[in-house]
Amino acid sequence: MIHALAKSVTLAVLVLGLAGGTAAAQKTVTAAVGIDPTSIDPHKISGGGDYQFFNHTFEGLYGHDNAGKLAPELALSHEVSADGKTYTFKLRPGVKFHNGEKFTAEDVVFSWQRSNAAETRNPRASILTRNIEAAEVVDDLTVRLKLIKPDASILENMGEYFYIVDKTTLERMGDERFGREPIGTGPFRFVSRRIKEQIELAAFSEHWGKKPKIDRLVMKVVSDPQTRIAQLRAGEVDLIVNVPPQVAKQLEADRNIKVIVTPSFQNIFILLNTAGADGQFSNPKVRQALNHAVDKRTLISRVMFGYATISAAPCHADITGCDIGKEPYPFDPKKARAMLEEAKFDFSRTYRFWGQTPGRAAQSKEVAEAVTFYLNQVGVKTSIEFLEYGAWLARITAREYAKYDMHWQNWTDYNNDPMGRLPRAMRTGGSLSWHTDPALDTMIDAANAIVDPQERLAHLKKTFTHIYDNPPYIFLWTTNEIYATRNNIRWTPRANVSWPVFWEIEKD
């Protein structure tokens, strides 16, 4: 009896010891994120939040490194023809998909076909792949893409808009199953997903370059920021995203928690309708005056609690061409008033201002209200209304120029290239544009046909300088991304993006 008991105890200790040993060897990082990807199929992306999944599991021919710089991923190098319409890529040898299949040029051609196929219903095909007229296999590790028109931002965009999938796997699995169990080449492989609950990934040990220092990554979807904070403080998760600026200082005081702040490409501004029939904002002097009217530095410190970087131009200085060496318009309400009077601005009218309800962008309502206060101080009377995100976006894209005068807006550049934004946001008739400036239109139209990077950089700087001198917006700031982790986490977030990338995360 005693012998049997001793045997059982020894066995139990052994089992527990083994279990403990396994647990210690498995390093899992659990992150609480605010939003759930709309899709985990890389050709069905419809929201910026989806990239928190795709940046881990899929790759393009080119992408970005952790510092946010353009870097080759599934390609090793490329050549571009003189007319900017033919790109030839040398592919990286020895790359494997998560299921062990070999990556070849055939997969690039197949991915292009699938991205553009009507039945895929790819919401983002028009950004990159629809401009590819033909994709040809030159040999197993060389592929050639022929463009309909030159697109100098194609490399920058490949990391977000042209993910490579495996032809053989997709043909075997079919679209539907692949959409539930996606297989890519990224440093993490897909394990499981429960919609609006969590996504689980595992490190992909056969990745060609990146070697994650953790074994598993669990992204829990927790939409309420206060709940995320409570989870972190209770030690239930290792990391949280989108900490509201107003509570970040409190978290900084917690000894068990580290607050990590990185710049993002999210730009905040007040759009001025220059396409309106009554022409109040068509005079650049008026728009310059309004840039002088708002005390942006005070707003950053009081409303954004310091978690933002003032902008001279409507973008982060790391965006190609945006570093124009100009100081932001200084706060000078007297000068603003004098300039408005000189421009014969109509002070008798009430200007229709609208913004976004709270919940989606940090302090959106407070910022809009504070800006209208400053405008009123120089005699610009405003009425203000707030719309829920969908209604707000619908009104922006409807562009009823005769009805509204100005609105709070944000814009996130997905990569370093500004041409994702300029044609849409500032060119006459662009899908988000309330601006009309023929000189700017010409500059925007020319930008993507310039193949030489230095020449293009100079052109874009000239374009942003023109935008600074003829501001279509009241420029405010780019926001900072605020993350918080437990003390045992070491992590440098990928620079300049608004979604978390955990390639280099470590856990003690």
Partner: protein, 304 residues
Amino acid sequence: MGFYILRRLGQTAVTAVFVSMIVFSLARVTGDPTILLLPTEATQEDRDFFRKQIGIDQPLHLQYLTFVGRVLDGDMGQSFRYREPALGLVLSRLPATLQLAFVSMLFATLIALPVGILAAVRRDTWIDTLARWFATLGQATPTFWLGLILMLFFAVHLGWLPTSGRGGVEHIILPAITLGWFSAAAIARLTRSAMLEAMQSDFVRFERLSGLPERIVVLKHALRNAAIPIVTYMALQFGVLLSGAVVTETVFAWPGVGLIVVDAINARDYPVVQAAVLVTAMFILLLNLLVDLVYSWLDPRIRY
């Protein structure tokens, strides 16, 4: 009785048709889903193509007929956002919402009935005052605030319970208290007034005079007479719990229908909104039918 049930089932079907028409129309009033599903640079052709693919290019009455035809086949369409069957998405999350609503109702009942009965029996004493305070405070406390306070105190500060998520028994305690708190207060208030009315009725006076023990008078006779309005109210409260679960599910990251509905409304994901509202409405209609049947058990004078 059989005829009554058949008639009520018929009424339930008619109500379901009306609910489907209302939810179908209201979902479409919220706006164009392509604004949110497609990137802003999408052309008009892109949008038209997408509308055609998801079937919202047809006139409204044809869309409705297609919708009804599909519902009869058990298909409520595919989520625009997740590209999964909408009914499957809702049904997979329904157990979590029902579990939360049931446990909240259990909590509310366990608190409210004793409090309401005691307050009525000990009318105008400190117990009654305390019960009335409880009822007033309970009804005046915003759910999201209560949820966060409970979470901060019991999960973050004391570390006794998990902050959020669904798992073992310990996971449901805070969400159930949060969700059930308002109902507990409301049921306690109603129990008190219904019991006071019953206690003042002639038959209770007669039973007391005839020497029946007070416990039997209160719990067996007065409570049974007070039960009909309480049960009716509890059934209504169950509907409130199901819809109120949206806030509690958000605060506690409870993976129920509420969480997905909020997102679906924001994303103009009509099929998911329709499926969630219809499934919930059907559940409440059937519950009401069940409550009507319970009446006859509670009060033998009621016959169908």
